[in-house]
């Protein structure tokens, strides 16, 4: 994995949310399952948002209003904050 230039913001968000990024942290937030990610994309679509909007302050602020049982806003925020792990891995 050495290609960095091509990674779009959407891809970055998908990786942040759904991949381990080399982490073996038992206490850290667990990446989303395919089912959970499905729920999130539906939630995003309903608000005319794209994954990359979660990297902006305004988009991130809307996560607090998420009502799905499968998705805890804190977990999503923790996953999105793994930027340095993403930076190292890609």
């Amino acid at each position: 994995m050495t290609m960095t230039e091509g990674l779009s913001a959407d891809t970055q968000v998908v990786l942040l949310l759904c991949s381990r990024l080399g982490q073996k942290d038992e206490n850290g937030a667990k990446p989303l399952t395919a089912r959970q990610y499905g729920v999130l994309t539906r939630w995003l679509r309903e608000r005319s948002m794209r994954p990359r909007d979660l990297l902006e302050n305004t988009g991130r602020a809307r996560l607090a209003g998420i009502q799905a049982a499968e998705l805890a806003p804190e977990t999503l925020e923790q996953l999105l904050d793994r930027g340095v792990a993403l930076g190292i891995m890609t």
């Binding site: 982490q23 850290g28 302050n57 923790q78 999105l80 190292i88």
Partner: protein, 694 residues
């Protein structure tokens, strides 16, 4: 939030009435509230560390992860770390010296007990460190800080290829991660370059670079001995302690030794010293326990001594960025400090050398890749070295160069190297572009030497400081000059000191009296005489003398001797400049001198031609006590292969010179065979003391 930030500032510096300096609060706010990417360009001492420590505290209060601080200056950050602790920011460092504590740091990080993780740029190049130490905690980093960010741009000059890796990580970071890049020196070119690498979302905060207490002055003093005399005269009269910068390690050693001889408390500081000793020297300077360190650029970025009284450059640095960085260390918190730039005859030669050798050669790189390609398994550096007979430093440079390429043609497996399937060619265009840039920077420093107006304004304008204006302090603004004068006795003393460092080998003018040498007698014809030569040191002297003796014993002369010989020859600058190198053959140690001469030739960028053969064994010259015996010992002992003798001037290399007969005879034979002027060079001079040195 601003109130809380201000309270933290006051707590950190222990001043209840402190206010933010212009730009500090803006930077903190942009990081904490805006999660922005910032480049902060402020002079050292402005308080960049306060920005990231307060931002870290505020981010942590909001539940964010720790800050990752990449800085080449970890050893010097003790004061800043103490300030951080006052606002309950706990900093820990992980580096190559403390692998035992990595697991504990990892545990503490995961438990949220560490607020700032300090890492040196070199660590990011280490695979084991990355996977074992950094990756497990990377998911918990909430702020990414890069100190001395101009290194991202300045690659090839600051010799920090590791920053290319940092740039890559920065490029791959998602935009929701706040990033702070800081530097004290960045002109528009550097800012443009950093912006290009970190993306258009980078916001730049920059303040004035002017140093109000610094009195700049330029002195053109071509000869080294004159500059040394000036230093010996001036330094005792400067208030406080300071730094003398030299371009080479050898000069740092020599100047320090000279100043010591003059009774000045001076110490050399360079990469040749162990880290521990360097740390000790820094502490001595910080505590004013030494008058001056004579340092190379190794006394580097961020060395912060607010009361540094003077910075004198013995030679001209390669760029305005470097000069400002170094001279800017003086006078941060005192009313009067001196920044003197001396320019000598050798400046361009040394600068050109650094430019020339900034990159490994295409051949070296190709050879390394060829060896790795052919290897059935990963190879350690030592194994590559054996296969290639390349100098360790050159190999390290080539490997580092290849490793930070992206995508890289080589990778690590443990401590060994493997060729990756990446097709790769030498980036000739990039190297050419950087080389051109270095030449421009060199030209700007020459222009600074000639500058007609305010010197500080010149520097500030070169660094794109929007507030550049006459400083009212420099030699040009005030008309007060230290001047280039010094007492004559110091000039003579310095000249003698230098003479002792490089010993002159006088050419013999006469054949042995009352005898013939291969049919010759009387005066040696001028056109067949040796030219004046040089020896690196006295046989048995401490320092190089010891190395020469060790080399003879171990049948291999150390790389340091090759470097020192090349330095001496460059300083010596024989005219007409030698175009090839040959050496004195020996029956006793047939490989020792030719092998050394070859390496020396390579270092000088000249061809080596082994065109002298020994036709019979001779006695050791030092066992022959007089000219006649010494000369007759050599009669018909050497043969020059006429066919391989080159036309141009030649450097004739031997390990030890004693009677000078060997040089005399070989110069005569080489010249008769058609060679140009013959310049003898020996590592050591073992002739009896003639009284010229103490």
């Amino acid at each position: 939030m601003k109130e809380r930030a201000l309270a933290l500032l006051r707590q950190a510096i222990g001043d209840p009435r402190a206010q933010f300096r212009p730009g500090q609060w803006e930077a903190i706010q942009a990081l904490v509230e805006g999660r922005e990417r910032l480049l902060v360009v402020e002079r050292t001492g402005w308080g960049k560390s306060l920005v990231y420590f307060i931002a870290t505290r505020l981010l942590r209060d909001r539940g964010a992860g720790c800050a990752l601080l990449i800085s080449p200056l970890l050893a010097l950050m003790r004061n800043q770390i103490a300030a951080a602790e006052r606002i309950a920011v706990r900093a820990e460092t992980v580096n190559s010296t403390n692998p035992d504590s990595w697991p504990a740091v990892e545990t503490a990080l995961k438990a949220g007990k560490i607020d700032v993780l300090l890492v040196s740029p070199e660590r990011l190049a280490n695979e084991e460190f990355m996977t074992r130490c950094l990756l497990p905690v990377a998911a918990r980093v909430g702020l990414f800080v890069v100190d001395e960010a101009h290194c991202i741009s300045d690659w090839g000059h600051d010799f920090r290829p590791d920053y290319r890796r940092i740039a890559r990580i920065l490029q791959a970071l998602p935009r929701n991660l706040p990033v702070l890049a800081t530097t004290a020196t960045a002109n528009d070119r550097v800012v443009g370059d950093v912006t290009a690498q970190l993306g258009p979302r980078l916001r730049v905060i920059r303040g004035p670079l002017l140093r109000e207490s610094l009195r700049l002055e330029n002195l053109r003093i071509p000869s080294q001995s004159a500059r040394m005399a000036w230093l010996a005269d001036r330094i005792p009269r400067f208030e406080g302690s300071g730094i003398v910068y030299t371009l080479t390690v050898r000069d740092a050693d020599n100047v320090a030794a000279w100043l010591q001889q003059c009774g000045i408390d001076a110490r050399a500081y360079h990469t040749g010293l162990e880290n521990e000793e360097r740390q000790q020297l820094e502490d001595m300077l910080l505590g004013n326990q030494v008058k001056t360190l004579v340092a190379t650029v190794a006394l580097g970025m961020g060395f912060d001594k607010p009361d540094l009284g003077f910075v004198v450059h013995f030679q001209r640095p390669g760029s305005v960025v470097h000069y400002y960085q170094q001279v800017g260390r003086a006078g941060r918190a005192i009313d009067r400090a001196y920044g003197v730039l001396m320019s000598g005859a050798e400046d361009d030669e040394i600068a050109n050398y650094f430019i020339r050798t900034a990159f490994p050669s295409a051949e070296e790189v190709a050879e390394v890749l060829r060896v790795l390609d052919a290897a059935p398994r990963p190879l350690k550096a030592a194994e590559i070295q054996r296969a290639l007979n390349i100098r360790p430093s050159k190999l390290a440079k080539a490997l580092k160069f290849l490793e930070v390429e992206s995508p890289s043609p080589i990778t690590h497996e443990g401590t060994a190297y493997v060729r990756t399937p990446v097709a790769w060619v030498m980036p000739a265009e990039r190297i050419e572009r950087i080389t051109q840039l270095r030449r421009q920077e060199q030209a700007r420093m020459r222009a600074y030497m000639e500058a007609a107006g305010c010197l500080m304004q010149f520097l500030a304008e070169e660094l794109s400081d929007p507030e550049a204006a006459p400083c009212g302090k420099c030699a040009d603004c005030t008309g007060e000059r230290l001047g280039a004068t010094y007492p004559a006795y110091l000039g003579e003393g310095a000249a003698r000191f230098l003479e002792r460092l490089s010993l002159i080998i006088e050419p013999r003018k006469l054949w042995p009296q009352m005898a013939t040498f291969e049919g010759e007698r009387g005066r040696i014809a001028a056109e067949f005489m040796a030219a004046e030569g040089r020896a690196l040191c006295k046989w048995g002297d401490a320092g190089f003398g010891d190395l020469v003796r060790d080399g003879k014993r171990e049948r291999h002369f150390a790389d340091r001797l090759v470097g020192a010989a090349a330095d001496l020859i460059q300083r010596w600058n024989p005219r007409p400049t030698p175009e090839w190198v040959t050496c004195v053959p020996s029956h006793r140690h047939p490989a020792l001198v030719p092998e050394f001469a070859r390496r020396l030739a390579a270092q000088l960028g000249l061809p080596f031609v082994g065109c002298v053969r020994k036709t019979r064994a001779t006695d050791l010259q030092k066992t022959r006590q007089n000219s006649f015996q010494q000369a007759s010992n050599l009669e018909n002992a050497f043969e020059v292969e006429e066919g391989s003798v080159q036309r141009g001037p030649v450097l004739l290399v031997d390990d030890v010179v004693d009677s000078r007969w060997t040089f005399t005879v070989l110069a005569w034979k080489l010249r008769k065979a058609g060679a140009g002027p013959v310049f003898p060079f020996a590592l050591a001079d073992s002739s009896a003391d003639d009284g010229s040195s103490e």
